[in-house]
Symmetry: C2
Subunit: 220 residues, 2 copies
DNA sequence: AAATATAATTAGATATAGCTAAAAAAATAT
DNA sequence: ATATTTTTTTAGCTATATCTAATTATATTT
């Protein structure tokens, strides 16, 4: 099954939207995600349905098929490998890479991706901390550990909090930490287990062991 | 002036065809080069003419404008930089790179090319020995030297012969040397100036100083 | 100089991918 | 249960890039 760049983009969007919710994905949601109009989406859904990469029933949204999932994961794999390349080899900032990777991901050459993967030393995660599917579409889930358990100089990304009480979220907000933030452990005080972290390469934050235990991160 | 991938390809073809001949380029020649039909070319020429990158007079072929030349050289620059990347970093063979580079050259990101150029250490020639234009479209012509003047372990590409008599070309053919062949100097005998070279990384050839003086190569 | 051959262009298709506006179906509210 | 709102689809149009077939312009022969 071969897809055009546009079809790949739609499929990727459908895959991402599917991951969040358990039910089928709506035309309007896809249009919003793709920044196109619902009418264009309807057209594309018909096409993708005919190609067998989604199950499409008019007026009832879509579900991605196994075949479709595999193809979407291939595109995601390519995207994330290119992001690693751009950041690690070409010194792009991690927030500058998305648009370029969006173009690069559509280059059709299995050999290229295989070689790129090897050149980058088979990275398992992209610069945003997202897992890179292997060539079979399998993704390695990265274990989430509390910031309090990370070592000095280790980097990672905040992905969740254990206690999600409003009070704690207010605290997070106040100090400038948030889900998705990239963090680096600057210092750990052995005496009380308190931690100093650097958020997004600019803001340093002190926190008690209690707080640090409550913030979950993936290591990069 | 922004061009589509297809327009870039046509312009590149027109540029290459212009380089060979002094007169204007014909519709049929472009069609042959691009592997499309003359009808498609006519359409595209009208468009490129309107964009000012070529001078187009119906039934009289085209000449590339200064603006067009600059754009064509930018595309060629991107193509050749990607070829260097593929060969030097991803270990592609030099004859495997063209199709992939053909896709990569259309990625729109000046920053990407700037960074790629730096990452590759500002190469001046691609793996085929062709010069890489700089960001202003200037190309460095590489001096051609006789194989007899190359040093041991130096690599290059055969680009011409001094004596192009039928006898000599028959000899070239017989030993497996040809215009375009990549060569590496394996050994030089000081006593008589004879040379042993490796052709295309597989075939080794012995030749007298007379013969070696007659084959011109560019160094890589 | 007229006839013929070659080359180039136009006219009219097709396919992709987007759009707006109108119509139809489904969901929600009264 | 009907009316209204929201969502989705269809119809029809635009633009790019290709094609074939027909036409027209230029070049070559005789």
């Amino acid at each position: 099954m071969k897809l055009t760049a546009s079809e790949e983009n739609y499929l990727k969007a459908i895959y991402h939207l599917s991951e969040g919710a358990s039910k089928s994905v709506s035309t309007n949601d896809i249009a919003a995600e793709m920044k196109t109009k619902p009418a264009s989406v309807s057209d594309m859904l018909r096409k993708l349905g005919e190609k067998g990469v989604i199950n499409y029933r008019k007026y009832y949204g879509v579900n991605i098929t196994q075949e479709g999932k595999k193809l979407a994961l291939q595109t995601i794999r390519k995207h994330r490998l290119w992001e690693v390349f751009l950041v690690e080899k070409l010194n792009f900032a991690w927030d500058e890479v998305h648009d370029v990777a969006e173009e690069l991901e559509h280059i059709q050459s299995p050999l290229l991706i295989q070689r790129l993967d090897a050149f980058l030393n088979y990275p398992k995660f992209d610069p945003h901390g997202d897992p890179i599917p292997d060539e079979f579409g399998d993704v390695k889930a990265r274990p989430r550990i509390p910031i309090s358990e990370m070592e000095i100089d280790q980097s990672g990304q905040i992905v969740a909090v254990k206690d999600s009480s409003a009070a704690f979220l207010r605290y997070m907000d106040k100090v400038g930490a948030y889900i998705g933030a990239r963090v680096k452990i600057l210092d750990k005080v052995e005496f009380d287990g308190s931690v100093e972290i650097l958020v997004d390469q600019k803001k340093s934050i002190f926190m008690s062991k209690d707080v640090a235990s409550n913030i979950l991160a993936i290591q990069s």
